[in-house]
Structure formats: C-alpha cells, structure tokens
Symmetry: C2
Amino acid sequence: MVLIDQDGSGPGGSNQMAMMVLLQSPRAEVLGITMVSGNAWEPEEVQHTLRMLELIHRTDVPVVPGAIFPLVRTEEESKVQQQLYGTFPWYGAWGDLAATTSRQPYHGPYVVPKLAEGEPALKPLAEDAAHFLVRQVHAHPHQVTIYAAGPLTNIALAITIDPHFAELTQGIVIMGGSLSPQTGDPEFANNPRHEFNFWFDPEAAHITLRAHWPRIDLTTVDISIKTGFTKEMLGEIARSPNPGAKYLAAYTGEFYYLWDELAAAAWLDPAIITKEEKLYVDVDLTRGPFYGDTLSWTSANKPQLDLQLVHVQQDLDLPRFNKLFVELMKEPPQPGSPVN
Amino acid sequence: MVLIDQDGSGPGGSNQMAMMVLLQSPRAEVLGITMVSGNAWEPEEVQHTLRMLELIHRTDVPVVPGAIFPLVRTEEESKVQQQLYGTFPWYGAWGDLAATTSRQPYHGPYVVPKLAEGEPALKPLAEDAAHFLVRQVHAHPHQVTIYAAGPLTNIALAITIDPHFAELTQGIVIMGGSLSPQTGDPEFANNPRHEFNFWFDPEAAHITLRAHWPRIDLTTVDISIKTGFTKEMLGEIARSPNPGAKYLAAYTGEFYYLWDELAAAAWLDPAIITKEEKLYVDVDLTRGPFYGDTLSWTSANKPQLDLQLVHVQQDLDLPRFNKLFVELMKEPPQPGSPVN
C-alpha cells in the first residue's frame, strides 16, 4: 500500500510518469494521491492529475488537494533574495515555465490554464491532504509507505497534526536533497547541496527528516542524474495499445532526468539500487544563501541531536531501472480498475 | 615581488614547504612573511617560521606577527555549535593536533611548546602584519602579489585599514574554498563547500573576496586533492646537499595534499594550471551550519552585488607541478642571502 504525495508537471510530464510507475504496477496498491505545489501550483496540478487518471483508466484512485504554499518560504521573499544570493535555474510554480519547458508562462496560484489534454470530469476529494494522509495511515497501521516526491509540506502537516503519523507508516520514500553530484552539469557544479523539493519548503523537509519513520529512503540529485528519459524509450512505450502508453505518446515531451520515477521504481524493486549509504540528513533552516540546502553527516561527525538514519541511494542498475520503467508505462490498467 | 601571508604547521610541514616554494625560487622576491593563526596558533607559528628561515639560510626575510584570533568566529562558540551542526575532521589550532598529526596536543594561544628543530635566535619584526602589508604595498605600488594561504584575517585588516590596499597590489593568490570536489575522500563527500581557511575566519574571507584586486587566483580543495606529497618525492629532495632540503629531510613527515604548495607554484609557473573557470566567489556569513562555506556563481546567476571575478583553478599538469616543487625544495639559498 502506498500513498502518493506529489507535485505535478504538464500532461505526460515527469511527475505524471512517476505516479504511473506506482499506478500501473501490479505490486502497488495506491490508496490515494495528495498534491502539493512545487513544479507547478497545486490547483493546476490537481486538474492535470485528475485528467491523467481518466485517460489511463484509474478513476478509482482519489486525488486530494494539498498545500498551495510552503510553510515559511514565500515567493515574494525569494524574489528579493535573488538580488543577494543569486538565482537558480528552476523555481517550479514560481518561475516562468515557458522559458525552459513547453508549459505555460508564469501565472498566479489559483489560475488554471486550459488543459491541452482536455478538462477532467472527475473531481478531487473534499478533504485536505494532511487529514487524508493521517486517516489512511490510521486505517492501515504499519502497512502504508509514503512516497513523497514533491516539496514535503503535506507530510510535515500530517506529522504536526499527529505526532504518531510517521511511526504508524511502513516508511517513507523521498525524492529530495543533493550531496555532491559527480557531474559536469553546471546546474549542480555551483550548488552541490541545492535541490528544488527541499529548497521550496525547507521547514517541511526538516520536520519530515526528523520524524521517527520505520525507514527513510532518499533519492537525491546525485543518483537521479544517472538516469534519463529518451526518445527511444518513448518509442518503445508508444508501441503499447494500453491507455497509459497512449496518454504518454500523445502528451509527454520532457526528456530529462527521471528523478521521481527512480524513487518510485526503487520502492517497487529495491534491487535497482546497487549502492546506498546510511547518513543522517537534515536541511539548513538558516535564512541565508544556503537556506533549504541539504546537510548530511556520518555517525562519526553527527550533531548531538535526535537525527534519523536515512538510506541514501548512491548507485543503480540502470538497465534494470529502464526496463522496469518502460514495462510499467506499457502496462494495462490494474485488474479491477474501472474502464472509462 | 610577493608577500607571504601564511599559517603554519610543525617543522618541515606543508605550510613551511609552501613558503619554501617562494623563498627558494630565483623568480620570487619575498618581501616578508606575515603570520596568522589557522593550522596552529600564530605565536607558535612565528617561532617555527623564524627557525625555518635560520635553517634554510634566509634570515634576510622579515617575519611579522599577525592575527591570533579571527575577526568574528570564536573557538568557544564553535565548540558549542558542534552539538548543533556536527564536527569537522580538522580544526587547526583549535583541535587536538596530536590526534591526527605528529604535532603537539591542544594548547592555548600564547603557549609555545619546545621546538623539535631548536629555538630560533632570530626575532620577528616589532610591527603588526596588517600595517606591514599596507606599508610594503605602498612602497611598491602595483608590483606586489599577495600570496595568502591561511585564514584571511591579516588581509581583511589591511583592506579595512586602507581601502586602496587591494587595488595597489598586482593581485592576490588565495588557497581557500571548496566547490564540489570529485573524490571518494569522506572528508569532503559530506561537506563539498567546506574548507578550513574560509571556515576559520569567514568574515575575513568575505572582505578579501569582495575587494577590488587587479586579479584573484584561487586554489580550492577541488584541485588541491589532485596533488600529494610522497615518500618518493622526499627521497629525491633528500639527495640535495642544500640547507632547505636538509631541513625537510630532518623534519618533514606529513604526506598529504599539497594545497598551499600548489597555490605558490602556480603563481611562479601559471602553465601548471591547465584548466580554470572564472566564477564569482563569496562566503556564507549566515551563522548556521554552512557558516564559512564557499558560495560561487557564474555571470548568469550572480547576485546583483559588486562581486569580483575569481580565477578558480580546476585542473593541473601534475608532473610539471611535482617536478617544479621537488626542484625548488632542492635549491640552494637565493644569491645574496646571508649564510647563517
């Protein structure tokens, strides 16, 4: 059983593919999708996700509206801070998405532009993400894994509402953080500790990383940049007659790192990860140039604080991951799923 | 013409070898050595440096006492902060040197333990480092390079005393900072932006990096860890009958990265550096876990502030560097040097 907590991209984008890894696997029971602002504003993401579920024939999975804004960081302050601390290449909902993707130019939080893939008839639940998360975990104690691949605002809210939330899960899988990517990609060379999900809501990442989960698995920038979505992979997926593959063939177009997809796939098949290190991980909450950057320690140099050991993924069996990913994108809807 | 601003190690240690790179080169005129606490306390360093000058027959070079404490960071606060932010493997004068080197256990700032290489008869100048630096640069306008291979306290004091100090030099060579070392050495994997000289006096590093130097060359951790002092190199040096080589053969024993030596050698022979990048560089002054860590930007993402472009060294011709380094260690005292 898994609860998907996710930000969203445009139709068929990376975040949608990551959700499909779990939605199309016969080994995962998705109890629901909670949404959070990050790569886009949450209200727009909800509509894209509802429409995706219609198109891939999974309208049985509830979509639950979550946090539109981070706990503390604000769009306005971050703009002013750029004058002092410089700029990053990616601001998600706060940036001009048209500048670097095929998506919409900047718009405000409550604006939902017309959907290229069509408007959904499906509606989200009339419950907020944090309470839905708490309710589901209490309904299935010690059986649910949280897959959290966006900013961690909803997860931090659930932890704060219910201090036993983390302990009652089976664990959490997080896409977030960056340690020391071994790459020539200039996006990371000058910011080895910067990663968008932790940056967007540093306080939420801190709250989440400090909670007493039975297990924490972390997919960082370091391992994510060893993956990549290619036109060849899309060509293979497009050969499938199933609705998920048809949806991707029609709408996807971001050939980039498979960050969230890897986090999801590694939960389904842990053998994808060939090397990991157990580290204590936290986030800088000092409101300076490194605000939201990743902190990590070994047991030899950790602070004298109640920090949690994290399974930090370091290397992968790339052919095995690519094969599983492409196979899942080609899968038919799970048995018992309604046909739209 | 060069002014050496340097912290110090034990007899024949890395900092001593770096000074010898400049002292033994026929291409450098060393106007003086200003000392600063860092790898050891300044009063102890002064004695080791005076004795080194005696043993290598360069008592013509004045040694000038400099800052014993950083501008803002304190030993006491840093100890308390370890509980919150964890520990680093190296604290220089503030650590127990006996734990990781052949040097003395921890002692206070004004204690000078007995020197293994003998006590110097030579005395330091009765002038402080900052004023000496200002006076020398005014005496030789636009002709002096500052070689700064320790914490930058003395340099920051000189800049603050005389706002034209930096402009009147020919440039500054700094050993400091860390961007994203590509290494498996665990010392750097969990702290890619941490480097001791910047960390020890962050405010001084910030003042220095913001000043209007004609040119700034930076030797970071990233390139330094591509070098290393070996027993083979020492064996080759020990074949020389000259006093510098004899001093090293008798006292050196740290087979580690050649950080400061590279900064000095690359100034003498710029062809040692095969790759550099021009970046804007600064230091985090936020008093959190990244206090003193290196900030860097390209022109594409820099803050809207008066930052200086730095020549950040990235790769080197290692055989060329090793050859020059070993040759210089074997050199006789410069012509005209007094014979002790």
